[in-house]
């Protein structure tokens, strides 16, 4: 039996727009993945601690408030400090194209922009974890 993929869908920042996060969570569940959802308004430390406690393989960050350039680096820094090697991080929400290279640089593997089909998120994970999904 293959080890089930565990994904944390987290909402950093203060915005309450969770439609995207919930739709993605639902689609991942339908793809056979175990999704842990944090709810709104999570601080970087809450997100990283949750990822550790839940021993997730992946963190998906969803933000629409525009605070990503402040909060994402903080999350990546904490992940590094706590030596959580191997957790894959992706992001989604309202994130301008210009910011994406910078986010990739700090270790965010992929940024999904508005209008991305959920299939694309699922196949992204299938690609990264071919024997797990």
């Amino acid at each position: 039996m293959k080890r089930k993929l565990r994904v944390l869908i987290a909402k950093p920042g203060l915005d309450g727009h969770d439609r995207g996060a919930k739709v993605v969570a639902h689609a991942l569940k339908d793809a056979g993945i175990e999704v842990i959802y944090t709810g709104l308004r999570q601080t970087p430390l809450q997100i990283v601690n949750t990822a550790i406690q839940e021993d997730v393989d992946v963190i998906g960050l969803s933000i629409l408030s525009g605070a990503h350039m402040r909060l994402f680096p903080e999350i990546m820094k904490l992940l590094k400090e706590k030596k959580t090697a191997g957790i894959l991080v992706f992001a989604g929400g309202v994130i301008p194209e210009d910011d994406i290279p910078k986010l990739n640089e700090i270790g965010i593997q992929h940024v999904f922009t508005p209008g991305t089909p959920t299939d694309e998120v699922v196949s992204f994970l299938k690609n990264k974890f071919p024997d797990r999904v």
Partner: protein, 559 residues
Amino acid sequence: MFDISKLDDLKKKKENWDMKTRSFMEKHPERMKDFKTPSGTPVKRVYTPVDIEDLEYDKSIGFPGEYPYTRGIYPTMYRGRLWTMRQYAGFGSAEETNRRYKYLLEQGQTGLSVAFDLPTQIGYDSDAPLSVGEVGKVGVAIDSLRDMEVLFGDIPLDKVSTSMTINSTAMILLAMYIAVAEKQGIDRKVLRGTIQNDILKEYIARGTYIYPPKASMRLTTDILEYTATNLPMWKPISISGYHMREAGATAAQELAFTIADGIEYVKHAVSRKLDVNILGKQISFFFAAHNDVFEEIAKFRAARRLWAKIMKNEFNASNPDAWKLRFHTQTGGSTLTAQQPNNNIIRVAYQALAAVLGGTQSLHTNSRDEALSLPTEESVMIALRTQQILAYETGVANTADPLAGSYYVESLTDEMEKQAKKYIDKVKEMGGMLNAIEEGYVQREIHESAYKYQKEWESGKRVIVGVNKYTMGEEKQKLGIMRVDPDVERKQIEKLKKLKKERDNGSIKKDLDEIKRAAETDENLMPFVLKAVHDYATVGEISNALREVFGEYREVIEL
């Protein structure tokens, strides 16, 4: 509504036509097997008087300005006065936003609309740990009365109407607005405007709640009570379906849950002995306008009819003014696409048309780039021009409710009302909206619609131009992007520090203690908050005082 013998004749002719059409379709099949509105109502090939035979003109449709207001709440509608063109704006600092307001007023905008940043909306000061990265981002940052004074500097508050999108902290921001007006020497009795103050939909869809629902409802009702006597021209609540729609609700759900929220507010207010006739005049609504033009129009018409019946028959309001559903409309943010952003101009135009044909009292048209970031000045201008063209060039404003009598629109209006009634009854069965929210029922219904919609466009069952059809490869974000000055947060924190040194901190402490004391009782909190605001207590300080008494809410996850 029609002569029975003629109807019978018509039914026969229709059967005949159906038969001929079926043979026509053998050679020329239709594009799709089923035609449906986005709410799932089947759309027929053609509509005839037979589809609305049960309607009685005066009972179901009536005249503009008369019960049940299907045709609009004013007898002359836009022949008298056009709708208010109101663009939601606000970003960064109070200074910058003040400049944008003056620009918009010069461009012919007729009302102001304030967007606040998230810390202000959730009751945190700019220097709070959770505010990191959020200050000035989705709206203007307001920490104290001092910022509010700058925001409305040189704008005579007796001459404009101001709409503030503020909910959990509505009492504080309204108090600040009153304080600014007083400093301008303006009597609060003449202040015109709206605060959203609709906490229920925050739990359902928008997410800027602070306290548990019961405490929040108390704050909302306190505001209703206070404004009823002190700010007679003010609309102290804007019951909003817009955000539920954004979260994925169908038009029918938007309509139903908004009205159900309305029922809950009136129920609470009435239990506090507020006069339903005054209350009815205070309440306003806020809906979205999406792409399916006729369904949207039907939604607006059904909303008026439903609300009028409820206010008249369920709450026994006797004043016709209390039966009227007044509403603001915003075009659908979630219908905007990041791909080919100029297409959004067209979408917004059709949505605005639907809002106007539906009889809206005010309208915000989205800017084409809002799927990507805050709108640029140029995009905001196009959006405003869209409304002006609609008002002055298309002729749609020249007669009241021009689509009345359309067999399709009337039948769809009826259908929307029926669908909404079903949801409203279900909510009632659950003991009202507070219970339905606590049990996650409304959230679940909306999420299911959102997920269904997602799957439909992903599978191509639903076409979105530029997204799953007529795509052009890499074409995102070719427009200039508006960014908030990254220094806003630092400057805002500095201002806050300075303020805390300069003000009389002794009286702040007393004010906050008084707020806490009053929060434990049934006293109306508004006067206490006004006092604190005058002394330059901050949004965060006042909210934290209430957090101590009320506690904080955590959401229900129902997926």
